[in-house]
Symmetry: C2
Subunit: 201 residues, 2 copies
Amino acid sequence: MEPPKRRRSATRARLLEGALEVFAERGFHGASVEDICDRAGFTRGAFYSNFGSKDELVLALFQATTDRLLEQIAALLPDLANQPGTLLDAVLGLLDEAAPDQRQWHLISTEFTLHALRHPEAATALNQQRAMFRDQLTRLVEEITQASGLRLSVPPQQFVRLVIAVHEGARAQSLLEPDLVPAGSLEHTFLPLVLDAISRK
Amino acid sequence: MEPPKRRRSATRARLLEGALEVFAERGFHGASVEDICDRAGFTRGAFYSNFGSKDELVLALFQATTDRLLEQIAALLPDLANQPGTLLDAVLGLLDEAAPDQRQWHLISTEFTLHALRHPEAATALNQQRAMFRDQLTRLVEEITQASGLRLSVPPQQFVRLVIAVHEGARAQSLLEPDLVPAGSLEHTFLPLVLDAISRK
DNA sequence: CCCGTTCAATACGGTTGTGTATCCAATACA
DNA sequence: TGTATTGGATACACAACCGTATTGAACGGG
């Protein structure tokens, strides 16, 4: 056993992990507090000892996953910036490897997005997170373009927004029709054209 | 009053309309049968006289909105194919004008997509609808390219998939940050580049 | 005008989910 | 080792929602 100093954080973590899975499976409203507790191996007593309500858990889960994601990115950035390959390989690689489970991530991510579209307070939080995410990508783009002596005729922020839009739109199609649209196919066939059109030596 | 032959279809219609609104506001699971009935001005008795369950209503609503959308498109196609402007204006115009309320459409459309990602039966239905939708767009692309003597170096189906991906991804960003990303901005700045790159005279 | 049918309203029972209050075990500390 | 505290389990009260059974009113046909 780990030094059993305070088990509180451990149960919180397990509850959050359980919530992540259950939310992915049944959606935010479709998952009951009991479902989450069952998945985590606790009873509702443990839940209400750690969170005030399901909404509060959702907020905490959003923060936790957000932090995790940004950490992952920070860890991956140096590798991708320096080592091999083209700019698009780096950017798309970052998008792919930032989240381990594409399907689960897409499910809860869109769930959060829908939630944000309905609750302005959640929207500001989500927008902040997405802004930081875009900033990371923008940094990557800027570093690689400078290193390889490229000039973009379009602000990198705009380009990053496009990449994200394509990535998210394409991911939806890939998840709906896995064999008709292999993951990454749309990105890899069309984004090079865009990049080519907006980059000058 | 209209010939009061059978009021059944009228209440069904009002229930469906109410469901559309309430689903957009609170999501599929978040909306109770009573919510829908309240919105439509009925009681649950009317509901269960017309539908067997909420799931059944969802299916019916999906079919109704789907049919409506395809009708709209069929009506708009001739205009866009012949009259003015460029290919992208036609395609993007179709995407924009097919749905009257972009926000509501995006909300319930995403809701359906999530539902489909979790329920394979729903996925096949959704994929069929999306295939028909893409076919319409593909027809439009083919007609305009032929009429203007263009040749695409990429199958039009692929191009249509890209346009849809960009459109959906961009729409999410526009709805989250309306003033940072005006509707249609990403599409109109980047898609011309793609089209230019894949079209030959 | 009367009778049968249709369809929505009302009334009811049962289930599910939430939140709180209480209990009990394990750990920390003296 | 005894005691206090922490944290999760159990028990309970209550509200929301669902689905059905029954009622009653409007309409349609004769």
